[in-house]
C-alpha cells in the first residue's frame, strides 16, 4: 500500500472523481446559470450578455415567478412526482418485504425479475404502454368492463380515455421507477434482524403492530432513499409526459424542452432548469442530514 500513500498518487486517485464532477457537472451547470441571466436575442446562439440590457439580467426569473404557466408546470410536476413516489412506495414496500421473506433461490429469481425490465429499451416499454392504454387494446377493454360494472349506468363509457392524461403519466412513471423504490427498500429491509420481530411478538405485539413498531421505523433510510430516487427523476421527467401526457397539463421537463427548442428562449429554459435543481436540492440535503444522523448513531 506504500505506493498509494505517496502524495502524488493518492491525490490523483482521489481527485479523479472530483475532476469528473467539475468537468461534466459543475462547469455545464455554471454555463446554464450564466445563460439563465443572459438576454434572449434572435441571433445564434439565441442569447447575449449586456447590450441594451444589464449584464446580469434577472428579467427571466421575474417572468418565471409571475407567469402562471411556469408555476403551474412546477405544481403539476411536483404533484405527479409525489403521486408516483407514493404509489411506488405502496407497491414497492410489500414487494421488498416479500423479497426478504422468501427462500434464497426464489429471492434471486424475483430480484432478477425486478431488474429484468432494464434489459429492454425504455422507449420501447413506454410505447408498449401506449398500445395497452389505447382505445382498442384488451387492457383498456378489460378496465372499461370493470369501470362500467362499478359506476352507475349514466357514467358508463365505450372505452376509458387513458392516453394523453395525467393518469397515464403517473401510471407509466410508477411502472418505470418502481425498481428504484424496491431495490433500496430491499437493501434496508434485508439488513434487519428477524429476531427483533420475534422479540416484539414475544412481548405481546400482533404481527401488524410488529410491522409498525419495528420494521417500518427501521426501514426509514430505505424509504427516504427510494423516495428520492423516484421523486427527483420523476419531477424532471420529459419523455413519459411527452409521449403519453396531455399537452394542456405540461410537466416542467416538457416546458424546459419547449422553451429550448421551440420558443428558442434559452435564458428561460435555463432559468427553469436552475429553479428545478434548487427545488430538488432541498430534499436531497434533508436526506444527507438524516443519513449523517443515522451514521452517527451507529
Amino acid at each position: 500500500m506504500g505506493w498509494f500513500h505517496r502524495r502524488g498518487w493518492r491525490d490523483l486517485i482521489i481527485g479523479l472523481p472530483y475532476l469528473w464532477l467539475v468537468v461534466f457537472f459543475l462547469l455545464p451547470f455554471a454555463i446554464v446559470i450564466a445563460m439563465s441571466v443572459a438576454t434572449k436575442t434572435p441571433t445564434a446562439p439565441p442569447f447575449s450578455f449586456g447590450g441594451a440590457q444589464p449584464w446580469v439580467n434577472i428579467e427571466t426569473y421575474h417572468r418565471l415567478i409571475s407567469e402562471p404557466l411556469y408555476l403551474r408546470a412546477f405544481l403539476i410536476s411536483i404533484v405527479n412526482a409525489a403521486g408516483t413516489t407514493l404509489f411506488c412506495l405502496l407497491l414497492g414496500y410489500p414487494m421488498a418485504l416479500a423479497l426478504t421473506r422468501v427462500s434464497r433461490s426464489a429471492r434471486n429469481i424475483l430480484l432478477m425479475l425486478v431488474i429484468l425490465p432494464f434489459w429492454t429499451s425504455f422507449l420501447l416499454r413506454v410505447y408498449a404502454w401506449m398500445g395497452l392504454m389505447g382505445k382498442s387494446s384488451w387492457f383498456n377493454a378489460g378496465l372499461t368492463e370493470v369501470w362500467n360494472w362499478l359506476v352507475p349506468v349514466s357514467w358508463a363509457v365505450k372505452s376509458l380515455p387513458m392516453m394523453h392524461s395525467n393518469f397515464a403519466v403517473v401510471l407509466v412513471m410508477v411502472y418505470t421507477y418502481l425498481p428504484f423504490m424496491i431495490l433500496p427498500l430491499y437493501a434496508s429491509l434485508e439488513r434487519l434482524d428477524p429476531t427483533l420481530d420475534e422479540a416484539a411478538l414475544d412481548l405481546g405485539s400482533r404481527p401488524w403492530q410488529v410491522f409498525l413498531d419495528v420494521t417500518l421505523p427501521q426501514s426509514m433510510p430505505g424509504i427516504i432513499a427510494g423516495g428520492l430516487l423516484v421523486f427527483i427523476p420523476a419531477a424532471g421527467e420529459l419523455v413519459i409526459p411527452s409521449l403519453v401526457g396531455d399537452a394542456s397539463t405540461p410537466m416542467i421537463g416538457r416546458v424546459i424542452s419547449d422553451q429550448f427548442s421551440q420558443a428558442r428562449d434559452w435564458p428561460m429554459a435555463s432559468a427553469v432548469a436552475v429553479a428545478l435543481l434548487a427545488l430538488m436540492v432541498g430534499p436531497t440535503m434533508l436526506y444527507s442530514h438524516y443519513q449523517a444522523r443515522a451514521e452517527g448513531a451507529k
Binding site: 434482524d193 429476531t195 427483533l196 420475534e198 422479540a199 416484539a200 411478538l201 414475544d202 412481548l203 405481546g204 405485539s205 400482533r206 413498531d213 419495528v214 421505523p217 427501521q218 448513531a297 451507529k298
Partner: protein, 361 residues
C-alpha cells in the same frame, strides 16, 4: 395437573428431520430449569415451542394448567431473553423495557413506574435515555432481562443467557441472574450448551442429545450419577474402560477390567454377573500415590502433567497402553521436586468403590 409446566410427549419435525423426539418434562414454579446439550440437540427448538414460535408436531404443553396448543406468542404469559438480546435499536432503553407493557391495561403513570422498577432491578436507571448501541454487552444483557421481566411473565425463557459475555462478566452475571430470579420468583427455563453454566445456575437440569432427554436431575445427581455414557462424558470429563461383571455380593460388584489387568470392587449396580459394562472414572476421584494402597488400584507411568496452580492434571499410561486422567489438588506448598509425582514416575492410582461409575456398555 399439579405441575406448573408440563411438557407431554412433545415431538417436532422439520420435514424429514426430527429435532425433538417425545420429550416429557415437568417444571415446578419458581425453579431454574436448564436444558443442556450440544448444538443440534433440540434444546432451542423446545424453547421456541414454549415461546410459541413453533408448534409441536405432536404432544402437548401445559402451563399453569392451560393447554398452550394454538396460543400465539403474543398471547402467552411467557417471555424470552434472546441470545443476541434482540433489543430494538431505534428505541431508548426505557422504551425497550416498556415495550411489552403497552399491551397491559396500565395507566401512563403505572407504566412509567413499572419501567422505573425494572431499571432499578438491573441497576441501569442512569442510562434510561440511552440507545442500545451506546451501552456495553453486559448492560444489554440486563436490559434484555428487564424487558422480558417487565410484564411479569409466568415463565422466562433464557436462550444462552451468558454466551455473549466475556468470562469475568459471566461469573458476575450468573449470580445476578440467580439473585433476580430469587427476588422475582419467576420460573426460569435456561437453554445452554455450557455445562458449568447449567451446573451453577440450575435447580435441575435436563441433558439432551439427538432431540431426546437423556437424564433429568439436580446438578449433583447428573454429575455423580449419570445414567448413560453420553451424560457421563458430556458433564465433566471421564476416562472409561470396558469391563465385565464377575460377581455380585453384599451390595458390591466385582468387575474384571482387562486394561487394568486386575479385578476391582464397585458399589452394586443393576447388572447381572457376566454382563459387559463400562467403568467410568472422573479425574478428581482418583488418588495418586507412590506406594500401593489397599483396595482398587492400578499402576501406571506419568506421561504428562499440567500444573494449574491450585491443582494439577496428570495423564497416566497403564501397562495395557490405556491412558487415564487424574486430578490432584495441590494442598501442600512446595517446589517441583516435592509434588506427588513427576514425569515418568511409576505411580499407583486408586479409588473408592463408591467413586466408580458403572454404566451399560
Amino acid at each position: 395437573m399439579a405441575d406448573f409446566l408440563r411438557i407431554e410427549g412433545v415431538s417436532k419435525s422439520f420435514g424429514p428431520f426430527q429435532a425433538v423426539r417425545d420429550v416429557t418434562l415437568s417444571v415446578e414454579q419458581g425453579e431454574i430449569f436448564s436444558l443442556l446439550g450440544g448444538s443440534g440437540c433440540g434444546k432451542t427448538t423446545l424453547l421456541r415451542m414454549l415461546a410459541g414460535f413453533e408448534e409441536p408436531t405432536s404432544g402437548r404443553i401445559f402451563l399453569d394448567g392451560h393447554d398452550m396448543a394454538g396460543v400465539p406468542p403474543w398471547s402467552r404469559p411467557v417471555h424470552m431473553m434472546f441470545q443476541n438480546y434482540a433489543l430494538f435499536p431505534h428505541m431508548t432503553l426505557e422504551a425497550n423495557i416498556g415495550y411489552g407493557l403497552r399491551h397491559d391495561p396500565l395507566s401512563k403513570a403505572q407504566r412509567a413506574e413499572r419501567v422505573r422498577e425494572m431499571l432499578d432491578l438491573v441497576q441501569l436507571t442512569p442510562m434510561a435515555g440511552r440507545k442500545p448501541h451506546q451501552i456495553s454487552g453486559g448492560q444489554k444483557q440486563r436490559v434484555a432481562l428487564a424487558r422480558a421481566l417487565a410484564r411479569q411473565p409466568k415463565l422466562l425463557l433464557l436462550d444462552e443467557p451468558l454466551a455473549a459475555l466475556d468470562k469475568k462478566l459471566r461469573e458476575h452475571t450468573q449470580f445476578e441472574l440467580m439473585s433476580i430470579q430469587a427476588r422475582t420468583g419467576v420460573t426460569f427455563i435456561v437453554v445452554t450448551h455450557d455445562q458449568e453454566e447449567a451446573m451453577t445456575l440450575s435447580d435441575r437440569i435436563a441433558v439432551m442429545d439427538c432431540g431426546q432427554v437423556q437424564q433429568v436431575g439436580s446438578p449433583t445427581e447428573i454429575y455423580e450419577y449419570p445414567i448413560n455414557r453420553f451424560v457421563a462424558s458430556f458433564i465433566g470429563s471421564i476416562t472409561s474402560f470396558e469391563a465385565e461383571v464377575l460377581a455380585r455380593e453384599n451390595g458390591t460388584m466385582r468387575l474384571n477390567v482387562p486394561d487394568f489387568g486386575a479385578e476391582i470392587t464397585t458399589r452394586d449396580g443393576n447388572f447381572a454377573a457376566g454382563a459387559k459394562v463400562t467403568l467410568a472414572l472422573r479425574p478428581e476421584k482418583l488418588l495418586i500415590s507412590k506406594d500401593r494402597p489397599l483396595g482398587n488400584a492400578v499402576q501406571g507411568v506419568v506421561k504428562d502433567l499440567a500444573y494449574f496452580g491450585k491443582d494439577s492434571l496428570y495423564r497416566i499410561t497403564l501397562a495395557s497402553g490405556a491412558s487415564v486422567q487424574a486430578h490432584a489438588v495441590n494442598q501442600r506448598r512446595g517446589t517441583e521436586a516435592q509434588r506427588v509425582a513427576d514425569w515418568d514416575d511409576q505411580v499407583w492410582l486408586s479409588f473408592d468403590p463408591s467413586a466408580a461409575i458403572v454404566l451399560g456398555a
